[in-house]
Amino acid sequence: MIWIYLIITLLGNAPPRVFDVPNDGGNALRVEWQLPPDSLGKVDSMLILRKTLPEGKVDTVAKAFTNHPEFVDEGVNYKKAYRYSILYFIGPVQIQSKWSSPAKPIASWIDTRKIPLFILMILYTTILLVYIFTARKGRELYLRPIAGLEAVDEAVGRATEMGRPIVYIPGLSTISDVATIAALNILAHITKKAGEYETKIIVPVRNPVVYTIAREVVKEAYYTIGRPDLFDPGQVYFATDSQFGYAAHVSALMAREKSATNFFMGMFWAESLILAETGASTGAIQVAGTDAVTQLPFFVVTCDYTLIGEELYAASAYLSKEPLLTASIKGQDQMKLLIMVAMILLSLLSVFGVNITLGLF
């Protein structure tokens, strides 16, 4: 036992080593210390002490263990310097190491680990910009036909024939969700189609911001086809912010109005099945589109057509004929191609024992 005390006393005098943690905002320091292998299990506990300079305030920052001689202190500030010491407890005896030399955390401007990711993003942005400029020059960009889209016109036609309204749900998410933006683009197209045949379209909205935009979208669509008289301020309205309150309201709306066509486009959560199942029970033709992977199965089983994931964005680009959106889809396609090629090549190389990560994979 005396022997251990002796070693600890000798080592205890050795101050811990302190290093800056790279690639951070200057809020972390790594503290390292050393114990002889024989002391494992004999030191009861250890405390890491930190002295903040220039104040000299001493804090206990953590309890350490002998089997892990390292600690990252994330409670520091790059504007100050720090010194560290280890306090060992061996039975009734306490031994404190010398204080380390002052160390100051460095705030990094660039996280070097993310440079490959940055290059990938630059590459993607460049591809995107090339397509955007190409589209703006008026060159037509090809997008393959999407089955669900052809159903949109058919669904509007059916509502006209039956003399019943269309219910359009632009998802339950906020405007910052890409799916909501795509849903609003599709709403513009459907409103124009419905307006041409004077078919009523009802748009209950869950989010107040989406409500104001959806209202403008519908109004503008009627203006575009030269029928501003068709706009009824009551056809686009804020229902409720509550998820299931909204689901209850829309379910009842579909049953009461006996809508001929229901569109569910945008982001959905657990209410998706309630909405789509109620719509299906009323006999309406239903077209859905969402990028919510967990909700897609419900739409697939309850709707006549479903735009799966990215098809929703493609549909939005396809219908709006917006060069920016079409170019985005083309850019994404090229990125997918690039990823597929990278996956195949890196896998093939791995067969021959060459495992390349490119700093990313």
Partner: protein, 210 residues
Amino acid sequence: MHISTDPWVWVAAILTLAIFTFLYKDNPLFKFAEHLFVGVATGYGLVIIYFNAFKPNLYQPLFVEHNLLYIIPFFFGILYFSAAIPKFSYMMRWPIALLLGIGSGLSIPLSFQTYIVEHTKSTILRFPYPNAALFINALILFIGVLTVLIYFYFSYPHKGAIGTISRIGIIFIMIGFGASFGYTVMARFSLLVGRIQFLLGQWLGIHTVM
């Protein structure tokens, strides 16, 4: 059988049954419960937003602590109301643009890392595999990802070989959907069981689950 004497349990039970009546058809009872639900939820949401968002994030720092920096978000927030004045309604686009800009800037690198890099990393075949089962698993994943990516490739028509590959892709998607459907339906059943337990146990006192 010990029927509950708590009036709030009765309210909850009657409202639950009123909502269930929709299974038969739309009726005044359901209409009442629906309107009550929508109204209460909206009112409740408004109070929550006031106390959890507006008061601590704007009212307290700006009007009580006089932190003038908060005038900027206050100004942008107020612009949402410009929708009511047709002459200035274009100003509503400013906060939306700010929100979209910040949202995109924050989410794009994260999405790249999470949805592209990490998925690609997990899909690439890395030899050697410790056993045949792990290799087969990795190979299925590899083929699935490639075929699904081809399905979502919009620049080429789904004809010939590409059409066949994309059909394999849609089979993978449907298998995934099937698994997800079954899993979620089970979760929904547990919600129904929870409601029935409430009606039979807490309300009617017929059945109690320990």
